[in-house]
Amino acid sequence: MLAKRIIPCLDVKDGRVVKGINFLNLKDAGDPVEQAAIYSREGADEVVFLDITASFEHRDTMLKVVRRTAEKVFIPFTVGGGIRNLADIETILRNGADKVSINTAAVKNPQLIKRASRKFGNQCIVVAIDAKRKLQVTSHKSQVKKKNMGHETCNLQPAWEVYIYGGKKPTGIDAIQWAKQAEKLGAGEILLTSMDKDGTQSGYDLKLTRSISKSVRIPVIASGGAGKLEHLYAALSQGAADAVLAASIFHYGTYTVGQTKDYLARKGLTMRL
């Protein structure tokens, strides 16, 4: 049986792990390669590096991280953050990453998904979606046409808007529609982050996760909000996610990847142990 995946995420700035904490037997808590190797040893199914380096002149540092990871870590790893075009994607893959995650560039130029997936294969193109909930009043069109306004049923249904530039800029694009379009264009996976939940440690946005996961036929990785192991379980069961991404619970040692997978396996999920 195909296992649900547990994916630790590392924020990397100028080639160093952001807020590296010294625990376990880390020689260098700030070294993303060593962190990734430890996650791999603990049983992580994949690792994601999110490059938050602001300046482009430091991009080579990230490529060095990618190359070193490919030499030492034998599980799939994804690199995201600031990828603008086909050339960026090619450079990262050439240096040994298995997948790239594209966000803003894909929204601004959806054809990038198509061209990149044609060139490198769908499996290495992850479209990252930052989604924020908005309350939307949806009215049934047929009833509107009948001018049956007085009796019209108005449902308050959740909807989510896509944000870009690290969550700074709203786009007006509906997250579900965007996920479907991304799939059509050739995305191999969706990395879905709930902006409402991100950083709260109060659990994933299950409705968002489920809505997207049920709208596409490619794997969906849930992200944003992991604080407890129950949250990961909920995202993978109720949320119908194929994988969960978490940063701080692993990073700060709240749980190891091993503990997490043991817990989820006990709850009845298929895990690679």
Binding site: K4, R67, G96, G121, Q123, R217, D242
Partner: protein
């Protein structure tokens, strides 16, 4: 020396590094002369079947590959490289492959998400003779997980060429073998310790490591 065939189908770095990690000496090449000198060949690759075949053709690699296999050199195809060993594929039309292993490459027709992506278990087919002889799956327990990414799977004509099965909506061949030629649908180079174990076993078969 193991030659890793560079036919411009994806990044070979991780396969090279994984083989080196288990102690092999690796040369990444598309030169027929170097392929002839190598003790064993590895054909990795991700991407479309037809593009893979057309690159092999353009780069004049088909003859050296077939010669090596005919000479009995250990040969390992990984993912697309495994599929290319077959007679034909139905990926975007009908395309002929290398024809080393009789059979077809067909698409998953399940209601499940495609590509089949992630970690899945394999079960060895124990009755198979060449498996016992080759030892490619030595020390790989049944139920071991490996990392898969594919939308098409291989269907050998002869059941006895299937060394291990996996299941995704249906059973399919995860590892195939015919004499000294092997095809692995998953990515051993991305499958952590057990993946490296298989590569190590292959290197033993090649005599690359003791």
């Amino acid at each position: 020396m193991i030659a890793l065939i560079d036919y411009k189908m994806g990044n070979l770095r991780s396969v090279a590094k994984a083989l080196e990690a288990v102690g092999a000496e690796v040369t990444v090449t598309h030169e027929p002369a170097k392929l002839r000198r190598a003790q064993a060949l590895v054909l990795p690759g991700v991407g479309a079947f037809s593009a893979g075949m057309s690159n092999l053709r353009k780069m004049k690699l088909i003859t050296p590959i077939k010669e090596a296999i005919r000479a009995g050199k250990p040969f390992l195809g990984i993912c697309l490289g495994a599929q290319l060993l077959f007679t034909e594929s139905e990926e975007h039309g009908r395309h002929l492959g290398l024809g080393i292993i009789p059979g077809r490459v067909v698409k998953f027709r399940s209601a499940l998400k495609i590509p089949h992506m992630g970690w899945n278990t394999i079960t060895k087919v124990t009755s198979h003779k060449s498996q016992d002889i080759s030892g490619l799956l030595n020390n790989i327990p049944d139920g071991a997980y490996f990392y898969f990414v594919h939308s098409y799977y291989v269907k050998p004509k002869k059941k006895d060429m299937v060394l291990a099965l996996s299941e995704y909506g249906q059973k399919f061949a995860a590892v195939v073998g015919k004499d000294n030629t092997f095809g692995i649908q998953f990515h051993p180079e991305k499958s952590s310790e057990l993946g490296l174990k298989i590569l190590e076993n292959f290197c033993r078969i090649c005599g690359e490591i003791k």
